[in-house]
């Protein structure tokens, strides 16, 4: 099976702080991979390196078989990398629908007219259709999280990167979101999902990666990973 993402010995430091320390990873098409690790472990930074929001100091980033190590974020979106931000970054002065429209038109490189119905479908799917014409800046936290997911979906990604999309939500809200993500996975979209809410994560992913101080300290089946001593030590304080 073809690999959607390959990271080869990727390194990134902010000053003296090694945030990504020699990370290598291969994600085959259609897989759902979970990433866990304490705050500040470098999880979001890893996403930024994949999307091109920041460039690595060393190593290689390969997407769909193409070396994109120095390619700008814009180009990677067109190749099919969609992402949500940990802290929602809506286009606050635009409506919810326009947020999706922009993502669809530019992420796919298609005219507005060809993507507007698709955007309406996505809004229906994530439960934001009733708020379609509302300004995104006026949304609640839950709706902002939904919008992050919807906007990423609108770019028609092959690889979807979700950064703590369930954080801060109630049990029921989290459930609905997880269902949507599982459905996307069922459609064959490759997913990498950073999450602290482990039961949500484990309901979807087939493989789990553990990051600590920028290093991969565990990678494998979720059960095996959660049983390992190192991981339990890290997670003792996070989820009992």
């Amino acid at each position: 099976m073809e690999n959607v993402l390959v990271l080869e010995n990727v390194k990134k430091a902010f000053g003296a702080l090694k945030v990504t320390d020699d990370v290598s990873l291969t994600v085959p098409r259609g897989q759902a991979l979970g990433i866990i690790g304490p705050n500040g472990a470098g999880k979001s930074t890893l996403f930024n390196l994949i999307t091109g929001n920041i460039l690595p100091d060393a190593g290689r980033v390969v997407l769909m078989g193409q070396d994109v190590t120095r390619a700008p974020a814009m180009k990677r979106v067109r190749m099919g990398v969609g992402r949500s931000f940990q802290i929602p970054q809506p286009f606050g002065g635009m409506t919810v629908f326009e947020n999706l429209l922009t993502a669809a038109a530019f992420g796919r490189g298609l005219p507005e007219g060809q993507v507007s119905e698709d955007c309406a479908d996505i809004l229906l799917r994530i439960g934001l259709l009733p708020r379609a014409n509302q300004l995104a800046g006026s949304l609640s936290l839950l709706d902002r999280k939904r919008l992050e997911l919807g906007r990423a979906m609108a770019t028609a990604p092959h690889l979807l990167l979700l950064d703590e999309i369930a954080g801060g939500l109630t049990e029921a809200e989290c459930h609905a979101l997880t269902d949507t993500i599982r459905a996307l996975h069922g459609e064959g979209i490759t997913i990498i999902w950073i999450e602290h809410v482990l039961h949500a994560l484990n309901a979807v992913v087939e493989r789990l990666l553990v990051l600590d101080f920028g290093r991969v300290i565990g990678l494998g089946a979720p059960d095996a990973i959660m049983a390992s001593k190192e991981v339990r030590e890290i997670y003792l304080g996070i989820e009992a």
Partner: protein, 346 residues
């Protein structure tokens, strides 16, 4: 899903008809208006254009330039150069003003786009000052003291005789009418072009970049390209307006043509008072400004002080300007750009 997208509102349909009527009245105005009124209208229209163009780059593009006087000045000087050195007709030479400003906006963008926030603003101002100092060295155009268009030139501008015959007025009044018509046409073109841009695909990109640069890149928007495009287009248009303004006054000096007070501070005042980031804002703002200008301009520095106080009060109590107040109360949008999703009735 069956759905369609529209930007139209009832108010915008009415506004479109009102605009057509106003344009027709506008072109017919010289038939019944006094010369003073034509001059006032010229002032209003040219300031309105400068305000719309500043609003485009600052309000929509998030690029707060305080160096727009560079484009007014270089545009005006290029027009004078075309007339005095190459013997062009002043009306034709206006286009030179646009291209000179376009040429200047390239290095200004190269320099200023490396800077952010307050440094961007300062960067644009520095480029404008340097340009003023360089132009003041241009001996052929009067150096630091400036120069005038000679009478044989102003008397023979294309169309002046025709206008003088048509309305049975003297040449000086005919020149004002001609300048006014050009301003009206250019103003319609400017507002029309900006409105078209905002409703186009580029408008979506521009709004996204304004709201969140990083998120815009992350959905595939080429933020740099959009900013360049808008900055250059605004530079070109501002140069045309500068050339037109100085065709009407027929007298130029570096200090006046590159005045940061007149061509940037007043312009920012108009946009802030009226409402930034919307086309209606500068229209309302320029009328308020013109009212204040006609009533109080004789008070000199007290007038400037009062303008500053008014701007601060509006910024605190109505951060989206007077039009923002109107829009919040009534939901009115004369130039709607918002794409609304309309679902079929169930």
């Amino acid at each position: 899903m069956q759905a369609h997208v529209t930007t139209r509102t009832r108010a915008s349909t009415i506004a479109a008809f009102a605009a057509i009527a106003l344009i027709l009245i506008g072109f017919a105005l010289p038939a019944f208006a006094s010369r003073v009124m034509i001059q006032d209208m010229f002032f209003i229209l040219t300031m309105l254009m400068l305000a719309q163009l500043w609003n485009l780059i600052a309000g929509y593009g998030g690029m707060v330039s305080v160096g727009q006087q560079a484009f007014v000045g270089i545009g005006a000087y290029a027009m004078f150069g075309g007339v005095l050195i190459w013997g062009w007709d002043p009306v034709a030479a206006i286009i030179l003003g646009g291209f000179a400003a376009l040429a200047l906006s390239v290095p200004m963008a190269f320099f200023a786009f490396r800077l952010h926030g307050a440094y961007f603003a300062i960067g644009t101002w520095v480029v404008a000052e340097v340009t003023r100092l360089l132009v003041a060295q241009w001996r052929a155009l009067g150096g630091g003291t400036g120069t005038s268009l000679p009478r044989h030139v102003t008397a023979n501008i294309w169309g002046v005789d025709w206008v003088a015959d048509l309305f049975d007025v003297r040449q000086a009044a005919a020149r004002d009418i001609l300048a006014y018509w050009l301003a009206l046409a250019l103003c319609i073109l400017t507002i029309g072009a900006i409105y078209w841009l905002l409703r186009s695909r580029t408008g979506l990109a521009l709004a996204a970049v304004r709201d969140n640069d990083e998120a815009a890149r992350s959905v595939g928007v080429d933020a740099r390209r959009v900013k360049w495009m808008v900055f250059l287009a605004a530079g070109f248009m501002t140069g045309l307006v500068g050339a037109l303004i100085y065709m009407q006054t027929a007298r130029i000096s570096p200090d006046a043509a590159f005045s940061v007070t007149t061509w940037t501070a007043y312009v920012i005042f108009i946009v802030v008072i009226g409402g930034i980031g919307r086309l209606e804002g500068p229209i309302l703002g320029v009328l308020v400004f013109w009212g204040l200008q006609s009533a109080f301009a004789d008070y000199g520095s007290w007038y400037l002080f009062a303008l500053g106080v008014i701007a601060i009060v509006v910024m605190i109590f109505a951060p989206r300007g007077l039009w923002g107040l109107v829009a919040d109360r009534t939901g009115l949008a004369l130039f709607p750009v918002q794409r609304r999703l309309i679902l079929p009735e169930r």
